[in-house]
């Protein structure tokens, strides 16, 4: 019951947040002069009459509150509007872009958590070992690398030489799962590594520090003196407590993940949501940009609710209600 109340409250505040973001985005973008878009659409040699016609066709000559009302009404019905240029529904466009983006996010997230947590745990249980020191150096390099540089270096030193020598499994661009899981993975493996690298470094550092602190606690000594195996002490007693700050950090980082997605999609030409939105910015295609912003906000809100739930499961002291 407590869980139910918590969910209802979080979903309601989530909706408010999404509404605020959508409203902010709407006024931010529509506060600009409308004739640049119309001029692009109408072509270079357009007369003022033609431009005015385009503006009224797009509904851009109506009072801004009327436009806002239309926007919100459509939004509630799940309609994000239509592209200025192709007239295509933004919903359809974004839906088409979802598969590469979802492939990227899920694979990258799994890789980043698996690598970050396991390297962090191994480092913390063997402090000052060769493994720990190498991991520390790798983490520092990872933290100092921009995402797109990792991607470019992977293309230059992995993709290009491998393909030159006839090893063509690893590819850039996107291939759907329908073309075979192996093909799909071959296309996604470099983007996953790129997206995960920097964050894995952050989480290695965080997990290692937290676990080292936790392993110095009194109750760990108690667990040891009870005669529990070291494995049980570390994983059952240590890791569980050390993970709570890591999970709450995850809530903060979900938003940053989106930034990474935009960059990785652009580097590897995956053609997902991020790449579409960057292209929309180049062409002033406002409905597409707003659609992306609203979708991004929804993603962050949902991800944060999930993170809070996981947090409560991991740490019994956290009251959900």
């Amino acid at each position: 019951m407590a869980l139910f109340g918590f969910l209802v409250r979080r979903i309601l505040t989530g909706i408010v947040v999404i509404w605020l973001v959508a409203t902010g985005a709407f006024f931010l973008f529509f506060a600009r002069p409308v004739d640049t878009v119309a001029r692009q659409l109408a072509g270079r040699a357009a007369t003022p009459q033609v431009i005015n016609e385009v503006i009224s066709n797009l509904g851009l000559n109506q009072p801004i509150m009327v436009q806002y009302w239309h926007f919100i009404k459509n939004l509630v019905q799940g309609n994000l509007g239509f592209s200025y240029f192709t007239g295509e529904s933004v919903d359809t466009m974004l839906k088409q872009d979802l598969p590469p983006t979802i492939s990227l996010v899920i694979g990258g997230l799994v890789l980043w958590l698996v690598v970050g947590l396991s390297v962090g745990i191994i480092s913390a249980t063997r402090p000052r070992s060769l493994f720990d020191r190498s991991a520390t150096v790798a983490v520092l390099v990872g933290l100092s690398m921009p995402v797109f540089v990792i991607g470019e270096l992977l293309i230059l030193f992995v993709f290009v030489p491998l393909n030159k020598h006839g090893f063509t499994w690893i590819q850039t661009g996107y291939a759907g799962i329908s073309q075979g899981v192996l093909t799909w993975m071959g296309h996604m493996i470099l983007p996953w590594i790129t997206l995960a690298a920097v964050q894995a470094a952050v989480y290695t550092r965080l997990t290692r520090g937290q676990l080292l602190d936790t392993l110095g606690e009194d109750y760990i000594r108690t667990a040891r003196s009870k005669g529990l195996t070291e494995r049980r002490v570390v994983y059952k007693h240590g890791v569980r407590a050390a993970l709570t700050p890591v999970v709450s950090q995850l809530g903060v980082d979900i938003g940053q993940l989106l930034g990474g997605v935009i960059v990785v999609e652009s580097v590897f030409g995956l053609g997902g949501l991020g790449e579409t939105s960057v292209q929309a910015i180049d062409t002033d295609n406002l409905p597409v940009i707003i659609g992306f912003v609203v979708l991004a906000a929804t993603f962050v809100v949902v991800a944060n609710i999930i993170v809070d739930l996981v947090y409560a499961v991991l740490d019994p002291r956290v009251r959900i209600a």
Binding site: V160, L212, G216, I262, V263, V278, A296, N304
Partner: protein, 354 residues
């Protein structure tokens, strides 16, 4: 258990000198002590030298233009491109690090990119530190509703996908250096504010603040003259660690075409242009990437070094290949129990618990 070997070992360099130099005993300020410890830290010193070299190279960019006769934005289709129009390699025809996709001098463009990167790094971090300290001090000192509002706002900024805002602003006002600096500064103050707020909360309960208040000092006098000086150390550390983040941020925006606009060189837009030449010009990617990585790595290492020097007891994350032992909580506990055993307690491990 801060007694015994822990303190002494951490400051052994200073202590040893004090013993040698008994004829001329002088008090040293916290900053002098910090600088001494930092100077003994080889990794941090190398990082500092690298940063200084980077800054000097960036400032001296026009000098290199005079030497190479290759202004940053001039293309040399005859000497800077090979027969098929591709970039020429390092060392060819006076192009020290090769040429770029349109026959411009890559080395010179990297130097001019360094000017942008370092400028953005320092300026945004300065602005962010200034705003972060102000917000953190006010939230921590006044507490109550002000604190709640400011703290919520800080959390919101920390969780906001910054690239989305940067994208939005780039659309609305058009990309420019000012917009980049504004966006990066906007996202850099929040982390600093959070730390300053936490420190202020604990410092404001100290007796000397009580004393200042009873002498009639106003809130702003207390905040800026009594509390602020005690916060400079953590702020300096986090600011040093923020500079590389800002550098990476600028490069990323420029890479996406939302930052510094061509033909002005920036490490981000050089690397973006390089994407079309993967197959033929490795130097086009490797050198700007190396410049970026060396700079951010140096700032990260220096920041870690300053943090250690400020507080010798903190655990050092980067410890490979260094003489000083890294101390973990477990080690400290082990030391402490060892001490106890050695001093008196015959009862073994239990004596170590305190």
């Amino acid at each position: 258990m801060s007694i015994g070997g822990i303190e002494v070992e951490g400051r052994e360099a200073v202590a040893a000198e004090a013993v040698l130099d008994t004829t001329n005993v002088e008090g040293r300020s916290q900053w002098q002590l910090t600088w001494r410890r930092l100077r003994a830290d080889r990794v941090a010193m190398v990082a500092l030298v690298v940063i200084i070299i980077m800054v000097v190279l960036a400032l001296a960019a026009p000098l290199f233009v005079a030497i190479t006769h290759h202004p940053p934005n001039i293309a040399y289709p005859n000497t800077g491109e090979d027969a098929s129009g591709n970039p020429v390699g390092p060392g060819t025809a006076g192009f020290w690090l090769g040429s770029d996709g349109t026959g411009r001098d890559l080395f010179i463009r990297i130097l001019y990119g360094a000017r942008i990167s370092l400028f953005v790094g320092f300026v945004t971090t300065g602005l962010g530190a200034f705003a972060g300290v102000a917000v953190g001090l006010i939230a921590g000192y006044f507490g109550g509703v002000i604190d709640t509002i400011l703290a919520r706002f800080t959390d919101a900024v920390l969780a906001f996908p910054y690239i989305v805002l940067a994208l939005s602003l780039a659309v609305v006002v058009g990309p420019s250096l000012t917009v980049i600096i504004a966006v990066i500064a906007f996202f850099s103050w929040a982390a600093i504010a959070r730390i300053v707020r936490g420190q202020t909360l604990s410092i404001k309960e100290k007796e000397y603040i009580e004393a200042a208040r009873s002498l009639g000092a106003g809130p702003f006098r207390i905040m800026f003259l009594d509390i602020l000086p005690n916060l400079l150390a953590p702020v300096l550390v986090i600011a040093t660690l923020y500079i590389p983040t800002a550098v990476v941020f600028e490069a990323t925006l420029s890479f996406l075409g939302l930052g510094i606009q061509p033909p002005t060189a920036s490490w981000g837009n050089i690397l973006s242009e390089a994407t079309n030449f993967y197959q033929v010009a490795w130097w086009y990617v490797v050198f700007p990437a190396a410049a970026l990585l060396i700079t951010t790595l140096a700032f990260n290492l220096l920041g870690d070094g300053i943090r250690d020097a400020m507080d010798p007891r903190t655990e050092r994350v980067f410890a490979a290949g260094r003489g000083r032992r890294r101390r973990t909580k477990r080690d400290k506990a082990a030391d402490a129990s060892a001490l106890d055993v050695a001093h008196a307690a015959p009862s073994g491990p239990t004596a170590g618990s305190s």
